[in-house]
Structures are given as structure tokens and as C-alpha cells.
């Protein structure tokens, strides 16, 4: 069976689950925020080599992990500790113990992963991505990650076409678009001392490319960000952006598949940029990236491809 570790609030998870149901593939949604209050886990190991790992739902339904052939690690939720436990130290303890049990379970599980939790984490690391991307033959922008104001100023000054800066993460709590550094902001660069910032040469865009990869299937989409109100970061003005399916040069596709293999992931949303003179530049890879906003506009069959991928690996018997 297929295990989807996500939540009902994740519409990507729900879209794939609907497809799996259509395919008749047995699938179960596991929302870890229901643990440990509503769900009960048991991991049994005996000296003879037997293992019995089960998760029980409140209605007595069970997941027997021996039957789990494929796992989609789709933005799992944090555990929610029973509010009856009030002391903060006790809550942290309960959280950490829950985490330990599941982290070990995932490592001990023989299944096809999209994507393995460890690979999800490591492949999201930006300096690591850049290095691997370069090693598989992709062009990357000149980059400096630093909290040294002097180095930042020197880097910025050395970029004839201007420099962008961005944060490692853009969350809803502190969302920040990628920005072209403005002259009046140079005075504020002393503040990089408080936290490292990613500076990159500004890569002029012909178009932005959002490339969704599932196994060997590649879905490149061109996002005409230059026609929107904010050409620096296509995410800002998606509602205005023209999006269309495109094809990539064979060598770029080959590099991307090597990138996936090196990162140890089978799903990724990759951001690249095609410059006005036709060069392809790698920007970043998102191992848990979104695709529905692309699929809606391009009709590329991404959801169904992922569902088929999971059912191919997940539907088999032991």
C-alpha cells in the first residue's frame, strides 16, 4: 500500500489521493499532527528477526508497515502533544520521544520513497544544491553567502548587472521575495552581520522556468515573469504571469536527471532561468515544491504522473 505522510489541509496531497483512488491503488493518509493524541504506534522487534510495526487509528483501523511499499513524504505535520501535558519541558520531552520513534521507523522501513526524509532535508540545503548542480554540468549564478558586510559590499560592487539577495527560506511568517539590491539598501548591508544572506549576480531573464521532475518524467514550464509587475521573482505575481509548457535542451534534461540522482530524490520542483541570449541557469531545487499552480495553467499531467509513480511502486504485494 501507499502511505501519504501529509494532512488533509495539503491540497497537493488531496489531489494525488483522489487520483490514487481513481487508479484503485490502496493508499492511506497519515497526518502526524494526530500523533500521539489520537494515533497509537507500536514498533516490535524480536530476537529471531521478526518486526511488527503498526499504527492504530481511533476507529481501530491499522496501518501495518510491513505492507507499506511506497511512501510519499509530503510536508509532514509536526506532532501535537496532548494539551493535558502543560509543563513546557514535559511537552518538549514528549515531542522529542515521538520524533525519535518515528525517525527510527522511517529509517527501518523498506519502501520506495518520494522523497526520503533524509534526502529531502539534505537536498534542500542551498550551498549543497549549488555544488551538486555545478558538478552535474548546470550553470549556476555567481553566489556569495555571507554575514560579512565588507564581503557583501565587495560582492555587490563586483556584479556589473546588479546583485540579488534572498533568504534561505521564505515562510508565511516571514515571507520575503527575492530582490534586486537597490542602491539605497547598500547602507543597510551592515545588518547582514546578524544573519547570513544569499547574494547572487542578477541573471537577466528571458523567461523563468519551473521544472517539475518525477522519476524520469520532466515537465518544464516557462513562466513569463518579465511581463508581470515583479520580474525579479515570478512567485510574486503568478496571477498575471503567462505560463506555458516548453521543452529543454537534451543536455539540460540529462543534467537535471543526474542532479536528481546525486541528491537522492525522485520528485523535485526546480527553478531555472533562460537568459535572453539562450543560456540556461540553475537557481534552486525544491524537494517538496508545489506544482498545482503550474498544472492548472499548463495542463501538464503532473498529479497523475505522481499518482502513477506511487501506485507502480506501492501497489505490489510483499
Amino acid at each position: 500500500m501507499i502511505l501519504v505522510v501529509s494532512s488533509t489541509r495539503d491540497e497537493h496531497a488531496m489531489a494525488v489521493l483522489r487520483h490514487l483512488a481513481r487508479l484503485g491503488a490502496p493508499a492511506e493518509l497519515l497526518d502526524l499532527s494526530r500523533f500521539p493524541k489520537e494515533l497509537q504506534i507500536s514498533l516490535g522487534s524480536d530476537p529471531a528477526g521478526g518486526r511488527d510495526t503498526r499504527l492504530r487509528f481511533p476507529d481501530s483501523r491499522e496501518i501495518n508497515f510491513a505492507e507499506v511499499r511506497a511512501v510519499w513524504w509530503r510536508r509532514p505535520q509536526p506532532f501535537e502533544i496532548d494539551p493535558a501535558i502543560r509543563r513546557p519541558g514535559h511537552r518538549v520531552f514528549a515531542y522529542n520521544e515521538s520524533h525519535e520513534a518515528f525517525a527510527g521507523l522511517w529509517l527501518a522501513l523498506d519502501a520506495c520513497w518520494v522523497n526520503h526524509p533524509t534526502a529531502t532535508e539534505t537536498s534542500a540545503r542551498k550551498p549543497y544544491q549549488l555544488r551538486v548542480a555545478q558538478e552535474v554540468g548546470l550553470t549556476i549564478p555567481h553566489t556569495l553567502i555571507t554575514n560579512d558586510p565588507v564581503a557583501a559590499r565587495a560582492f555587490v560592487a563586483a556584479q556589473p548587472g546588479g546583485a540579488i539577495y534572498k533568504a534561505f527560506s521564505a515562510t508565511e511568517q516571514e515571507w520575503r521575495e527575492t530582490r534586486l539590491l537597490r542602491p539605497e539598501e547598500i547602507a543597510g548591508l551592515d545588518n547582514v552581520a546578524y544573519a547570513p544572506v544569499i547574494f547572487q549576480e542578477y541573471v537577466p531573464a528571458g523567461v523563468d522556468l519551473r521544472i517539475t521532475v518525477i522519476g524520469n518524467a520532466i515537465f518544464p514550464a516557462a513562466i513569463h515573469s518579465q511581463e508581470t509587475s515583479y520580474p525579479v521573482d515570478f512567485r510574486m505575481d503568478m496571477s498575471q504571469a503567462r505560463v506555458e509548457p516548453v521543452t529543454l535542451p537534451a543536455e539540460t534534461e540529462a543534467s537535471l536527471l543526474r542532479l536528481m540522482a546525486r541528491l537522492g530524490i525522485v520528485y523535485a520542483a526546480i527553478d531555472m532561468r533562460r537568459t535572453p541570449d539562450g543560456h540556461y541557469v540553475f537557481l534552486e531545487v525544491n524537494p517538496a515544491g508545489q506544482w498545482l499552480f503550474i498544472e492548472q495553467r499548463t495542463s501538464q499531467p503532473i498529479t497523475s504522473t505522481l499518482a502513477r509513480y506511487l501506485s507502480t511502486y506501492g501497489a505490489g504485494e510483499n
Binding site: R75, F93, A103, E172, E174, W175, R176, N191, N286
Partner: protein
């Protein structure tokens, strides 16, 4: 008296708009409405071109609102944020609400409930028909940037305390400096009936001035150490304790001093964390997010480093302590306990008070507002705080990560993500509330001489933080200036 919530007109439901319009029409029909037009026409020296501009109109609007509530107790004054709803096609001007622009020939408004042809809106002064001339005498409405120039001025008003005052929040907001600006500019942009002293003829007058009043309330929260000026030495009627006309002539004493705390008057604005229903944004949660970096459960969180050893109890204990800090984040908790929420506008019953306290320290907001009455003008650091506040970028020169210290370059995404935007606004409001409370507490301590030099520096920093968060908050409310 229960505190009532004044909302942004753009967020009103169709039913709320209809009730407001119906109440206004009822006041017009029973003759009350035109007494307001007359009072405003007679109020030039007392109500305009001086420090009393803001308190006079606060009283004027409050009386009008109470009269509306005699017709329909559910109605409150909506405000019009003209930095956002700044076009001739804004929903404000829909036929179902205020009606639209005037016709080209003579400016008569021909759509909506206040068109002359309805027979319900005959003007006694400057009549007979309501007129509007959008954009004819001024190309555009004020921008968030314009607004910030006024909001960031930490001094309420300066000598000569009239339209020639060259700085100060009041004259910047009223709009006489390099005018017409802000308040005056909005009158000019709408044009027609909004031009002369009979401008309350156009119901949009009340939505416009309601926003001006809200800006004053925002400013008071933003500059908790700045009070009304002048106490004395200003033009007649404009000093803190002067009774204002026309109410004095009718035997009522209304002073600026009595109008500084709008909560005490029985209302609040929907950005204050007090109007709880407004803070529930669950309705329009965005359906398509494309944040790829959102924080997921990290596989390797909290890996204990001392695997091989039995956890030494001391280490564990220390870990727990640190976590307590992180989880509870309670420098304010103590303060909150010390300040029981006993304010007069909170007579809506215990459950509400409980809920108020749950909204990110909302229970302390009233304290910050109360302290507005105590100007800390002898604070030697205030001048420097002002420098920080007028910094157009807002966050430089204070410790914040670089990426968070610079303003957004684009907010275009926000148009697709109303839920996220509103959630961010709520979070910022909560931060402002907490900061305002802490600042108020420390200013009180400072006045009693209890702060060390180092703590004064911290207070200084808190003020800069407050101003910076306010800049970001305004940017979010503005919905898209970069």
C-alpha cells in the same frame, strides 16, 4: 458602554453597507443630517487649521455615529482607506453603497442612494444635488508613502499651531504643508460637494474623516510617548483644555483632553486586536500557495548529542529551561498580570475578556493607549527616536537581519493570497500591541526615574522597533507598494 468596532469599508458585507446607507438616509429624512452640515459650516476657526482639527472631528463623528445608532444600533462608521481604495472604480463608489462620480456636465451624482433623482438627497446648503468631480483638481489620492511621512512624525503639532506649522503630525495629516496633502487632498480629489465647508453633504465625508480619526489613533499607539500639543499658548479653542464650539455655546464642555482616548468614547478600530470577529480570517483561506520553503517537520530535529551517555540531569534541566523561554515568550506575562484589564469599555462579559487576553497580549493594549496622555517630552532620547522614525526605509540602524530590515519590493503576490496577508497583519498587530504595552510600561518607569542608562537605550530600541513594525504593517495594509 460597550466598545464598538469601526471597520474598513472595503471589508463590509453587502448587508452592513445597506444598513449604513439606510441609517444615513433616515437621518437625512428626519432633518438630523443637515444639522451636521450646518455645524461643520460654522466651525472653521475651531475645527480646522489648528491642533484641534483631530479632536474636533473625533467629537463630530462620534455624535454622528451615535445618531446613526439611534436609527440602527448595529451601525458603526466605516472608514475609507484612500491609500488602498484609490480608484474611481473602487467598490466604495458602487451604486449599492455611496454611488459614483458626477456626470460630466455639472458634476451631479446620478448613481446610488444619494443621487438627486432618488428624491432622498436634496442639499439645503450648496444644493440642490450632490456633486463629485473625481480627479479633476487633483490627479491622484495620497499614497502609503505620503501617509508615512505624517505617521512617522513623533510630534503632534508645532508653533504657530496653525496651517503654517512647518512640521508636526497634525498639519501634515490635515495637509497644509506643500498642500493640498493627505486630508485636504482627499477633499480636493473627490471634488464637487466635498470642496466647500458644507462638505458633510457628501456621506463620503464621514468615511474619509473616520479614516483620518483612525490614523490619529494609530499615531497615538505608534508614538506612545507623544501627547497632544499645545497645552497652552495656541490659538483660542486649540489648547488642550479649551472647550470647543459649537458645543460650548449649547452648554456642553468638550475639550481636546476629553477626546484623546477613543476607547473611552466607546469605539475601536478593526486593526486594534480588540474587534475580535474581524480577526477571524478563516473564511477566505487561499487555495493555491506556492511557497516551496515552508517549514516542514524536519527529519533531524533535536538530535540529542550525548547519545552514548545517560542524559546528565543537569544538562537536561538546562535544556528544559531554555525551552520554557522559547515556548512561552513571556516578558509580558508578568506585566499582563500586573495590569488587570479593568477598563470601562470592557463590560462585554467575562468570555470576551478572556478572548481579548488570548489575542497576543491584547489585554495590555488599553494600557498603552492610556499612557498616551502622559507626554514624555523630557526624554532626551526622543530626538533620536524621531530620526529613526523618519528614516524612509524604516528599519536601518537597528539590529534586524538584513533581509527583514528592508521593505518588500513587491507585494503583488498578496493580491492572490488574502488569507496570508491578513494573517501577517494580525501577527504584526499582535507585535505592535505587545511592543506598545512594553514601551508604555518602561516609559512609566522612566518617568519615575527607575530606568538605568542601559534600560533607556533598550527603550529607545523598542521605539525604533515599534516604528519599523508599523512601517511593515502599513505596507501590508497598503497591499502593494514597493
Amino acid at each position: 458602554m460597550a466598545v464598538r468596532c469601526r471597520k474598513n469599508q472595503a471589508t463590509l458585507t453587502a448587508a452592513e453597507k445597506a444598513r449604513f446607507v439606510a441609517a444615513v438616509l433616515a437621518l437625512k429624512a428626519n432633518g438630523t443630517f443637515d444639522t451636521y452640515v450646518a455645524d461643520h459650516m460654522g466651525a472653521m476657526p475651531n475645527a480646522h487649521r489648528g491642533p484641534a482639527f483631530l479632536p474636533w472631528h473625533r467629537e463630530f463623528l462620534r455624535r454622528f455615529e451615535l445618531d446613526l445608532q439611534k436609527i440602527d444600533p448595529q451601525v458603526t462608521l466605516p472608514y475609507w482607506n484612500w491609500t488602498v481604495d484609490n480608484s474611481v472604480t473602487s467598490s466604495l463608489w458602487d451604486p449599492s453603497f455611496l454611488g459614483g462620480n458626477g456626470r460630466p456636465a455639472d458634476g451631479w451624482v446620478t448613481t446610488g442612494p444619494f443621487a438627486h433623482s432618488t428624491g432622498n438627497w436634496n442639499l439645503i446648503h450648496d444644493g440642490p444635488a450632490l456633486r463629485r468631480r473625481f480627479g479633476m483638481s487633483a490627479a491622484s489620492l495620497p499614497t502609503p508613502f505620503d501617509l508615512n511621512l505624517a505617521m512617522s512624525d513623533a510630534t503632534y503639532d508645532v508653533s504657530p499651531w496653525d496651517r503654517f506649522s512647518t512640521s508636526g503630525f497634525r498639519n501634515k495629516l490635515e495637509g497644509w504643508i506643500n498642500g493640498p496633502q493627505l486630508h485636504n487632498l482627499v477633499h480636493v480629489w473627490v471634488g464637487g460637494s466635498m470642496g466647500p465647508m458644507s462638505s458633510p453633504n457628501d456621506p463620503v465625508f464621514f468615511l474619509h474623516h473616520c479614516f483620518v480619526d483612525k490614523l490619529w489613533a494609530d499615531w497615538q499607539r505608534m508614538h506612545p510617548g507623544s501627547g497632544y500639543l499645545p497645552v497652552s499658548g495656541g490659538p483660542a479653542g486649540h489648547n488642550l483644555g479649551n472647550a470647543m464650539q459649537p458645543w460650548l455655546g449649547r452648554g456642553e464642555t468638550v475639550t481636546s483632553a476629553s477626546l484623546l482616548d477613543h476607547h473611552a468614547l466607546g469605539y475601536a478600530y478593526d486593526n486594534e486586536g480588540i474587534c475580535l470577529p474581524k480577526l477571524k480570517f478563516g473564511d477566505d483561506v487561499p487555495t493555491r500557495k506556492f511557497w516551496d520553503d515552508f517549514p516542514t517537520l524536519k527529519f533531524r530535529d533535536d538530535i540529542p548529542t550525548l547519545k552514548m551517555f545517560d542524559d546528565p540531569p543537569t544538562l537536561k534541566f538546562r535544556d528544559d529551561l531554555q525551552t520554557i523561554k522559547v515556548l512561552d515568550d513571556q516578558p509580558t506575562l508578568k506585566f499582563r498580570d500586573e495590569t488587570p484589564p479593568t477598563l470601562k469599555f470592557r463590560d462585554e462579559g467575562p468570555p470576551k475578556i478572556k478572548a481579548l487576553d488570548d489575542v497576543g497580549g491584547g489585554g495590555t493594549l488599553s494600557k498603552a493607549v492610556d499612557d498616551v496622555k502622559i507626554p514624555a517630552l523630557d526624554d532626551p532620547n526622543l530626538g533620536k527616536a524621531q530620526q529613526d522614525l523618519v528614516d524612509p526605509v524604516g528599519r536601518f540602524g537597528r539590529p534586524a537581519p538584513f533581509v527583514l530590515s528592508t521593505p518588500h519590493h513587491s507585494m503583488a503576490w498578496a493580491q492572490d493570497q488574502p488569507g496570508v496577508l491578513e494573517a501577517a497583519a494580525v501577527q504584526l498587530e499582535s507585535e505592535l500591541t505587545q511592543l506598545g504595552a512594553v514601551i508604555a510600561e518602561r516609559e512609566e518607569a522612566q518617568q519615575q526615574g527607575q530606568l538605568t542608562a542601559q534600560e533607556v537605550d533598550v527603550l529607545q530600541q523598542l521605539r525604533a522597533d515599534y516604528a519599523a513594525v508599523m512601517v511593515e504593517y502599513q505596507q501590508i495594509l497598503g497591499g502593494g507598494t514597493a
